[in-house]
């Protein structure tokens, strides 16, 4: 623990010695510990299968950690009962690689789904949203540049538009933190940039903490305040983008990965 600073400002999220075993001898997460300040933009990088997705899902318990401790706003996440867990999840948004929308419903309906956690079961079942909720949904949709698509079914949208709906659904939760699981892995470079810019802007404006799993190292360097490098379930790098040297990078990805920083995806690094 650093002194002074931590006493004045408790971390938003703290993971202590998180272990996760699926069926098998090798752990998916191996003694992962780190803490996150409110409003931080953290990028998690690492090879496929390193445990990035598992790590993200352990935080909101979409995957149950095998052991360890997670504190979110001072609450012991792993000790929560079902009802309390649901309440906690309303404060944590989530964005997915494949958007995870209900394709047959319209944009606005999908966005309002973000409110379901904060409603009674009956209101949720009936899909009754208040005037404020609807107003806010329209506002967010407008901010994300989807005004023309409000009443369009989501299966008519492009990948970039779908991901913006995903962001809107997370934002309408009024989250303190958003977990993003490979948000741009299925998108072209232009849409990727739009999505990352939106994430960055909203996180800064609304003071939302972001934890983003990324494949693209250059994107992580450009957008994040801090990078976590994961290899075989262990955190092998934790620091600002400036410290991510070629040698550190090969710690994460293995020796063949030297060219990753100056890779062909220079579109982001201007």
């Amino acid at each position: 623990m650093e002194q002074g600073l931590c006493l004045a400002r408790a971390p938003q999220l703290e993971l202590k010695n998180i272990m996760k075993f699926y069926n098998g001898a090798a752990p998916a997460l191996d003694d992962v510990s780190f803490s996150v300040e409110p409003g931080e933009f953290i990028a998690v990088i690492g090879p496929s299968g390193a445990g990035k997705s598992t790590l993200l899902r352990c935080i909101n318990r979409m995957v149950e950690a095998t052991s360890g401790e997670i504190l979110f706003d001072g609450v012991h996440v792993l000790k929560l009962w079902k009802r309390e867990l649901k309440q906690l999840r309303t404060k944590i948004g989530m964005i997915f690689q494949h958007y995870n929308l209900v394709d047959r419903l319209t944009v606005i309906e999908n966005v309002l789904h973000g409110r379901l956690g904060s409603k009674s079961t009956l209101a949720g079942v009936l899909g009754r949203y208040s005037r404020e909720e609807k107003g806010k949904a329209f506002h967010i949709v407008r901010m994300l540049g989807l005004s023309d698509q409000v009443y369009q079914r989501c299966d008519r949208l492009s990948g970039g538009q779908k991901q913006r709906v995903g962001i809107a659904r997370a934002l309408i939760q009024n989250p303190k933190m958003i977990l993003c699981d490979e948000p741009i892995a299925s998108l072209d470079p232009h849409s990727s940039k739009v999505i990352m810019d939106h994430l960055k802007t909203f996180a800064k404006e609304m003071g939302i903490t972001l934890i983003v799993n990324l494949h693209q190292v250059n994107v992580a360097i450009k957008y994040s305040d801090r990078i976590l490098g994961i290899r075989k379930g262990k955190v092998v790098f934790d620091g600002p983008p400036a410290d991510l040297t070629a040698r550190r990078l090969s710690d994460i990805y293995g020796p063949e990965a030297k060219d990753l920083i100056a890779g062909p995806g220079e579109a982001y690094a201007h």
Binding site: M94, L101, L116, T121, G124, Q173
Partner: protein, 261 residues
Amino acid sequence: MHTDIFVKRRNGNLFFFAVLAALTAGSAVITHFDVLKGFTSVFKAFVWGLSNFYPDARSLKILPDILQKLWETVLMSVAATSVAAVFSLLLALAGSQTTRVNGLFTVVARGIASLFRNIPLVAWAMILMLAFSQSPLTGFLALFFGSLGFLTRAFIETIDEASSSAVEALQAAGAGALPVIVQAVLPSSLPQMISWLLFMIDTNIRDATLVGLLTGSGIGFSFDLYYKSMNFHAASLVVLLIVITIIGIETLSNSVRRIIL
């Protein structure tokens, strides 16, 4: 090393066909099935059918009677399938990985589905006949149980396939089980489910003929009656009408499917 794979695959195929041929020949020998005679009698059957099995003017007089029975059969199939669909939906929600509440429900629901699916319709009809004797209720229940097993299985697959990703998103947002079902699972999977339902109605109208024959109700019974009284012209009219009805219903349900999917 690479060629080995191809050799292996070719040998595997050869082996498979050898086994198939051996099984075919073996079962023909054991059952004393004369392949040649079998195929020539198909031809003979056709000749007999063309010369005897066609509706004539006299049989058209019973047309209203047959249509009445046919209508009953169609309605019975629709009713049995729809009622089964309601129960199947509940079982599927309990049995699907996506919406499962707990492991016990899942096992029970899947158990019921596979039990009911694996008992043939004819067996259902026979079993139920012991309890309800020859009556339309027996036919209804036989179709109901058969559909229940099949639809539950189909609905489970549909739910897991169509809605698991959206369900994950809503659970991550803290939504409860019921809102997730109504807001994400149903909108994603209903069209596919309705498509299965229509398919099942098709199938059941066909099977209702057989079940009716066994349980003495509906169009199957009419057919049985005419056939056994050697009134082949009337029997052929029944078959013809069944075929027309099934094609009609199939066309209808195909176009409905195209619209909703």
